[in-house]
């Protein structure tokens, strides 16, 4: 297998890496860089546990080849410093087993970066690519509502 040289910025840090041509972005993050907050739940883009933000948009890192990320900016859960979202998740009880949580936080972050006043439907839509088997989603939805409200300058409703 040939190696391919890529320049990629991950969580604000520039990396110059040599990657196998069939390596997926998720494998690069987990196996090479040990950024294990990105989870693999299905390997076919159905669960969203491997969600990362790539050039400002959420993507499934299991459906991106590492070489495609050349010249891209990637943000993983390890690069999220948004304590408002994280604390809302903790306080609202939006975390159970936690395996979907990093992906959910990234989906929430991506939504709130674009829309600080999402309605219920928009929130549900924003996390509709992230499966959760524990919480039934409701507490995740309320966590995102709460985070949005705090970000808008209100208090925690």
């Amino acid at each position: 297998m040939n190696l391919k040289k890529i320049d990629v910025n991950i969580n604000g840090k520039d990396y110059c890496l040599e990657v196998e041509e069939n390596l997926r972005l998720i494998d690069l993050l987990r196996d090479k860089l040990h950024l294990t907050g990105t989870k693999e739940g299905c390997g076919e883009g159905e669960c969203g546990a491997c969600t990362v933000i790539m050039d400002g948009e959420i993507v499934n890192s299991c459906l991106v080849l590492a070489f495609q990320a050349d010249k891209c900016r990637i943000i993983t859960i390890e690069g999220i410093e948004d304590e408002i979202i994280k604390n809302s998740f903790i306080e609202e009880g939006a975390v159970q087993c936690g395996f979907c949580t990093p992906g959910m936080v990234l989906a929430a972050k991506s939504l709130l970066d674009k829309n600080l006043n999402p309605n219920e439907e928009e929130i549900r839509e924003a996390i509709s690519g992230n499966l959760c088997r524990c919480t039934g989603y409701n507490k995740i939805v309320s966590a995102i509502k709460k985070a949005a409200s705090i970000k808008r300058g209100g208090d925690s409703e």
Binding site: T36, K39, C47, A49, I77, V95, G98, F99
Partner: protein, 412 residues
Amino acid sequence: MNELKIVGKSIKKIDAKDKVDGTAVYPQDIYLENMAFGVTIRSTRPHAYIKVDTKEAEKIDGVIKVFTYKDVPGKNHHGVVLKDHEVFASKKVRRIGDPIAFIVAETKEIAEYAKNFVKVEYEEIPAVFDPEEAMKEESPKVHDRDNVFYHFKIRRGDVERAFLECDVIVENVYKVPMVDHAFLQPEAGVAYLDEDGRVVVIASTQYPHFDQEEIAESLGVNKDMVRVLTPAVGGAFGGREDITVQIHLAIAALTLKRPVKTIYSREESFLAHSKRHAMKMYYKTGALKDGTLLALEAKIIGDSGAYASWAMNVLRKAAVHATGPYYIPNVKVDSFAVYTNNPFTGAMRGFGATQVPIAYEQQIDILAEKLGLTPIEIRLKNCFREGSETSTGQILEGFIPLERCIEELKSF
């Protein structure tokens, strides 16, 4: 009662911070020095005698060893109630997905590649997939015993006579399918030897102390020589009650004296763990004109698939809960757990008490409709209250707030 200060308060979940930060460690997140990687070879046939040849695979550069039943130092079995699972299938496979061999290689890629070189010869034998077929005497036997391995009965009052007194009787058959737990974290694990020579198995499990015993038995060592670590578990719902990765990893680590890791794909996860029991439920429920339930007769057949797992407990729980939370003086219930060559079934959220409401609640609604009662009225008329007797003769004491639960729905 004293005033409570912490119990009753929604304090923050103590493991939540690590989980939102992405730093919580699940078994797949562990990387150790000199760690080998294992992949499992599984049966592709539902019922067959097998011969396994690992020679070609073992010649591949980077393959360290291919483990089969011959490499199990202790007992080649496990199981939560009956020890009817094999660690590796020895003579025959009983379902698609039975583990046959465990390839350990320097890397995951090599192990995956080597899968193509483990030869499994199948001599297929007649199989049975329908539990009711499997109950027949002439049906192929999944194990060396009758396919019906559990029959539980409840006999209370006189059902036959009671049905004669009923003003209305409803009789139906309900079928529920197998379903998967679909916890988000596929099975994964790491095993290694610690400084004291103990085998350490890191895996997601619901019951580490039982795993410890089962691992020790298959390793042929005292259980103090086995240590089970359960870092973050990505959901379970009953699907992590049975052994999956644990014994394979322990045997490999003990034999090779180096860390070994395995991660199942989602597809393998579906193959590896149990399912919720599919059930066929024959229900006959009778009531008086005023809605008073008088008699219930039910036959519940649970498809246990190829292994027993928790089937006895599940079918027992199904039977005990077969009346629903209603007082019925005359009850006859028969529940059966039956082996077939389907995926094996076991614990899943509710444990047998989840399937039966689909039958008993529809029965109640149909009765209500026939009697001109509302669904709430018929339930209030019959629901368990303090002092009620269940179909097993158990007297419900203490706080039995079902009536209140139903009243709460009036405003819906």
